[in-house]
Symmetry: C2
Subunit: 224 residues, 2 copies
Amino acid sequence: MPRPKGDHEARRRDVSEAVWQVLAARGFAGLTLRTVAAELGASTGLLTHYFPTKRALVEYALDLLEQRTLARRRAAGTRTAAPGGRAAPHGPGTLRDALLDILPMTPEAAAGNRIWVSSWDAALADPVLSAGHARRYAAGRDRLTERVAAAQELGALPPGDPAGIAAGAQSFVLGLVVQALFDPEAFPPHRQVELLDDYLASLSGRPGHHDGEGAPEGGAAGVP
Amino acid sequence: MPRPKGDHEARRRDVSEAVWQVLAARGFAGLTLRTVAAELGASTGLLTHYFPTKRALVEYALDLLEQRTLARRRAAGTRTAAPGGRAAPHGPGTLRDALLDILPMTPEAAAGNRIWVSSWDAALADPVLSAGHARRYAAGRDRLTERVAAAQELGALPPGDPAGIAAGAQSFVLGLVVQALFDPEAFPPHRQVELLDDYLASLSGRPGHHDGEGAPEGGAAGVP
């Protein structure tokens, strides 16, 4: 007798949660059918119904990581958005919020970033997975490009190819994520904000390296 | 009868080379006593003489990666340095050379960066290894800080805390490395140079996003 549909959906949610728990505890290096089955309290055989191959499991985990990261950032954005959701009149405005949302400013964001970094080795080792990650980062740059263009319209950023500025900004925050994960003492949240604000100030043509002069007005407002 | 010393040194070189070949072919995810023994054509038992634990092997491989990376960058620097080794009078000069040397501009540099990225997951999973990587990146920032200070003395960069500028520059290139490894078509060498030059131009207070106006004089000169 076939199970009712609701049962199947519930099982899928359980599988997602088990994959997530394994990622959080062990990263992609520890992601196997066996560890997910153990987390789920199920047999490896059941898991092969969902993931016929290791690559299918990794691909699923990468999608799950993307979904949960975007959901977390949307939630953080909702919490910190100005009333009415309008861009702040100072600095590059919502570009800054988007970049802050990527940085490991909270334990939750640090844990998510830790999983992303652990995904890079697995993804680079497989052309299909690597193409998926390339697509995800390209989509991230597209989202940043929109915010750069909006900041340019407001006059908060000078003219220039918004896609190039977005690619530079994405590089800057990804590298800062790596630095902060390895050396949280050298890169506590306030230092991350300082470095990001220096970066944004120099993009705006107002370099002022954390001497307090060039930082965008509003300082750390909007930090999650 | 004890083996002569020269024999021991030769064996150490063979072990280093075997570790390097495994890293190049499989990254840190594929680095085990078994794979290194197979590459060396030796028994796993012999390897445990050199590396009593998996961590000792990974630690050794991280040191080897650092040594070989610095040797490659020094060799590239020697090839591209101006006669007399003086900093070029334009732009941030040798800071730019140091940052270009990190980027995956050549197949050799791309392979080395691929190994670095594969090391991050292994290193972050272990506090001792993580501290080692933190120390390596701090040393890299110190080297960049010297170049930032030199560029400031030449008037090629405006005043400001050189350590902060160096931390920002290291973040920028590390993130660009990750982007370029995942999407070499979107980030071919000339695009990497363009983005780096835009970044350096904005640090110099001369933003000009690859419209040709703000790029440092000399363009791609000195690219390996």
